[in-house]
C-alpha cells in the first residue's frame, strides 16, 4: 500500500495525554438488545426526519421509522424488532449539545427480526440516485459531527474532487472507537472508502491515521495490500491534537488552507470518518442501513472501559451497565472527547449517531472549579491555537463586548478546540467566552439587520407620506385652476347664489 507523506506540520496544536489504552485493551464488545430504545428522529446536523410509524405499531430491524424530507437530513431506522410505544419529545445528545428532539421509543422483543433479508444494494446509476440511497440508509458523519454524508458528498460534486480523505486520525483524548474499528474491520473500511471514492470520482484517496495507533496502521496497510485498491494510500500523522480536524487534515496533507467560512468540499476535498466508510460498506454490500455504531465507554468512573457496538437509541445507563457499571465516584458524564465533548446531566439519554465516546469521568480527570487569575499575556494560547488567533486579545474584546474588535480578530475562525484553556496559566475559561462572544456577535448582527429594516420601513413610510402630501397639493391646485382667479370665484359664487334665489323664487308662492 502506498505511503503518503504529509506535506507540512500542523499549525499550533499540542500533544495531549491520550488516555486511550484503557479502552483498547479488549476487542469491541458485540451489540446487546436493551429493553427499550429511544431513537431520535434527528440523528444529524440539519432538519429532523419525520416519523412514519405510529404508536402501537410493530417495528422490524432496518425498517424506516422516520423519513428525511430535506437534502440536508437522513432517514432513521429501527435498530431491532419491537413495538413503538411512544413518539415523544426527549433530550438527546447530538453533535455539540443535549437537545430536545422528537423520539420514537421502541420496546424491543429480543427476536431481532429484520424487515427483510438484507441483500447487497446496487449503487444507483446517477450521482443523485446514489446520494439518495446514502440518505435513505441514514448514513451521517460518524466522527461526532453527524453531518449528513450525502449532503457533504454533494458539495464536492460541483467541483472536481481532488482528494477523498478517510479520517482515522482520532486526535481527541479518550476516544478510541475508530482505532478499534480499523483494527478489526480494515478491509470493510477500505471497501467503503473505494465506494465513496468512485461515487465522487475523487482522483486519490488517503486514509489518515495518527502515529499512536500502530495496530490500526498495520491493519489498514495489510488490508490495502490484500485488496489491491488503486489510488489509495495511507498517511501517518504525528499525534498532535487537533490533527483530525477537517481543515487541519487538509492543510497538513495538501498544504491547502481551506478559506475561512468555506468547507473543504468547496475546494475539492472530501473528508469522511473511517466509521462512515464502514457504514457505506455495510449498506452497499450487505443492505444494512445505519442503526448501530461503535461507542468508546471509558474514564476512571466505569468498571470495564471498552469499545462496544451499540444500537442507536440505547440508554447510556444500559451502556455503562454493559461495561461493568459505575466504579467510584463519577463527577461528570461526557459525550465526545475531553476537549470538545459536552457534559450530560443524566445517563437516561440515548446513544445517537453522534455518540462516539462516553467518558465516565472521576474528579481528577476533569478541570476543577477554580478561581481565574488575570491574564498575564504569556501568549501560550496563541502559540497552540490551530487557527492562529490571538485568544489573549479576543478574551479582552469578548469581556468588553466589543463586536468590531471581535470581528477584526476573526473570532469566527475559532474552531473551539479548547487548547487555549488547557495551556492558560490564569485558568481563564477562554473557549466558553468565545462561544458566548459568537452568540453576542450573531445577536448584534441580527439587531443590526433589524434596525436596518426599521430604518428602511421608516424611510418608505416617509416617502409615502411625502407622495401623499404632494398629491394633495396637486389636487388642490387642480381645483383652484378649475375655479380660476379670485374675482372669478366671487363672481361664480354670486352667480350660484343668484341661481339659488331664482329657484327659490320659482318655488316660493308669495
Amino acid at each position: 500500500m502506498l505511503k503518503f507523506t504529509p506535506r507540512r506540520r500542523l499549525t499550533g496544536g499540542m500533544r495531549l495525554p491520550a488516555n486511550k489504552t484503557e479502552s483498547t485493551a479488549r476487542p469491541i464488545h458485540k451489540a446487546f438488545i436493551p429493553p427499550r430504545l429511544i431513537v431520535s428522529t434527528r440523528q444529524h446536523r440539519g432538519p429532523a426526519a419525520v416519523p412514519v410509524v405510529e404508536v402501537g405499531q410493530p417495528a422490524l430491524r432496518g425498517e424506516t421509522i422516520a423519513r428525511a424530507n430535506s437534502i440536508d437530513a437522513a432517514d432513521v431506522h429501527a435498530p431491532t424488532s419491537g413495538t413503538v410505544v411512544a413518539i415523544e419529545a426527549r433530550e438527546v445528545p447530538l453533535a455539540s449539545a443535549v437537545v430536545v428532539e422528537q423520539c420514537v421509543v421502541i420496546e424491543t422483543d429480543g427476536a431481532d427480526r429484520a424487515v427483510r433479508e438484507p441483500a447487497p444494494v446496487e449503487p444507483g446509476a446517477t450521482l443523485e440516485a446514489k446520494l439518495e440511497q446514502i440518505r435513505a440508509a441514514g448514513i451521517v458523519g460518524l466522527g461526532g459531527a453527524v453531518f449528513p454524508a450525502a449532503a457533504k458528498l454533494r458539495l464536492a460534486s460541483g467541483v472536481a474532487c481532488e482528494l477523498l480523505i478517510i479520517n482515522g486520525a482520532e486526535c481527541e483524548p479518550y476516544i478510541s472507537c475508530d482505532d478499534m474499528l480499523m483494527r478489526e474491520s480494515a478491509k470493510e473500511i477500505l471497501d467503503g472508502a473505494e465506494i465513496l471514492r468512485q461515487l465522487v470520482d475523487a482522483k486519490e484517496c488517503i486514509v489518515a491515521i495518527e502515529r499512536d495507533k500502530p495496530q490500526a496502521i498495520d491493519a489498514i496497510t495489510a488490508a490495502g495490500e490484500a485488496l489491491g485498491i488503486e489510488r489509495l494510500s495511507i498517511a501517518e500523522l504525528p499525534s498532535i491534537y487537533p490533527a483530525g480536524g477537517e481543515r487541519q487534515l487538509v492543510d497538513v496533507l495538501t498544504e491547502v488552507e481551506v478559506p475561512s467560512g468555506r468547507f473543504p468540499g468547496d475546494v475539492g476535498f472530501i473528508c469522511q470518518n473511517v466509521a462512515t466508510a464502514y457504514a457505506v460498506h455495510r449498506y452497499f454490500r450487505h443492505g444494512e442501513p445505519l442503526t448501530r455504531r461503535i461507542v468508546t465507554v471509558t474514564g476512571a468512573g466505569v468498571a470495564e472501559p471498552c469499545n462496544i457496538e451499540a444500537m442507536i437509541g440505547t440508554p447510556i445507563a444500559d451502556l455503562i451497565a454493559a461495561c461493568g457499571g459505575y466504579r467510584g465516584e463519577t463527577v461528570r458524564l461526557i459525550q465526545g472527547g475531553s476537549m470538545m465533548g459536552f457534559a450530560m446531566g443524566s445517563d437516561d439519554l440515548p446513544v445517537t449517531k453522534a455518540s462516539n465516546c462516553i467518558i465516565v469521568a472521576s474528579a481528577p480527570e476533569v478541570r476543577r472549579d477554580s478561581h481565574e487569575w488575570p491574564c498575564i499575556r504569556c501568549g501560550e494560547c496563541s502559540i497552540v491555537c490551530p487557527a492562529r488567533l490571538q485568544p489573549q486579545d479576543l478574551v479582552l474584546a469578548a469581556r468588553a463586548s466589543n463586536v468590531a474588535m471581535l470581528n477584526e480578530l476573526d473570532l469566527f475562525d475559532c474552531i473551539e478546540c479548547g487548547l487555549c484553556d488547557v495551556v492558560c496559566p490564569s485558568q481563564i475559561l477562554l473557549t466558553q467566552s468565545f462561544r458566548d462572544a459568537k452568540e453576542l456577535v450573531r445577536s448584534s448582527d441580527a439587531r443590526e439587520a433589524f434596525s436596518q429594516q426599521s430604518d428602511e420601513r421608516y424611510r418608505l413610510r416617509e416617502q409615502r407620506r411625502h407622495e401623499a402630501a404632494v398629491a394633495d397639493e396637486q389636487r388642490r391646485d387642480e381645483i383652484k385652476r378649475m375655479l380660476g382667479s379670485e374675482e372669478d370665484r366671487v363672481e361664480a359664487i354670486r352667480a350660484a347664489v343668484a341661481r339659488g334665489r331664482e329657484r327659490k323664487g320659482e318655488t316660493d308662492v308669495g
Partner: protein, 349 residues
Amino acid sequence: MSAETARFGVKTAPHSPPKHAVPVIMRRVLYALVPAAACYVWFFGFGLVINFLVCAAASVLAEAAMLRIRGRPIQPALGDGSAVVTAALLAFSMPPLVPWWVPAAGGVSAIVLAKQLYGGLGKNLFNPAMVGYAILLLSFPVEMTRWVPPRMGDIDYVHLEPLAHLAYAFTGTLPPELGLDAMTRATPLDLVKEGLRSGQTFTEIRANSLFGDFGGRGWEWVGNFLILGGLYLLSAGIIRWHIPIAMLAGLVIPSGLLFAFDPAGYAGPGFHLFSGAALLGAFFIATDPVSAAATIRGRLIYGCSIGFLTFAIRTWGGYPDGVAFAVLIMNAAVPLIDRYTRPRVFGHG
C-alpha cells in the same frame, strides 16, 4: 426502565484539566533564581538576602494596601507570588550594600506605581521591577552604585558577616575601623565605561584583576547560574526561547561586529554577555510575560531591540548598564509591536 438514572453536574468543554497555574509559574521563577542567588551571596556577601527580604515584605505590604484601597479582594491576588518575583528581581538589580529603605522604597514604587496604579497583575505596561530599579537609580544614585568586589583570594575585599550586615542595613552603623569606601569598588562595567572614555584600550582595562575570562570575576559565575536557571525555565515550559535568544543576539551581534572592527575601542561580546544584568535580563526580566510582546514575531523584535538598546546605552549612553532602560523603552513599544505582528489567521489571504 432498566438501570437507575444517575445525575451529574454539567460544565462546558474543554474538560481536560489545565496544565499550569500562575502561582506555580511564579514559584518556579523563584526556584530558578536560587542557584544564582546562592552564588551571588558567596561572591558578594549577605546583602542580597537582606535586600530581598526587605523588598519582598515591602512589595507584599504595598500590594495588600493597594488592593485594599482599590476595593479589590486581597486574596488570592496576594497569593499569586508575582510581588515576590518582582522583589527578587529588584533585589538582584541593586548593590548588596544599601540601607534598608532602598529595597523598601524600590518594592513600594514597583508595586504601587508600575503595577497597582495600572490595575494590578496583567494590566501593567512596564516591568515593575525595572520601574522600581529606575526610580531607585535616579533617586538614590550614590547608594545604588555602591557595588562591592567579589570574594576572590587575590582581590582585596571586605565583606560583612550576616549580623554586621543586618546592623548596617537597619542602623547604618559599620563595625569600627571599617569605612564604606574600603568596602565598595567600581564594577567592571563602570571601569570599561570610564576607561574607554579616558582613552584606555579595552585590553588595558581588562588587565585589572576584577576582570575574568569574559566579564567581571564572580559575575561570570553568577551568570553561569543564571543561564542554568534560564535553561530550567525553558525546559519546564515557563518561558520560550524567542525573547532570551533574540535579546542575547541583539547584544552580541552588534558588539561583536564593532569589537571585530576595533578591538581596542569597544568591549567584546563576551564581556557584554557576562556583565551587568544581561543574562538576568534575557532569562528573567525581558521574559516577564505581562510586559513583553505576545506574538512570536513580536517577541523576536522585542528581544532583539532590548539587546541592541542595552548595547547602545552601554556603549554610547550615560549609564554603565542599559538593561533596565532598554526593557522599559521596549515595554512602551509592546502594544504597537503586538498590533503589527499578528500572524495571518488560518484560511485568510
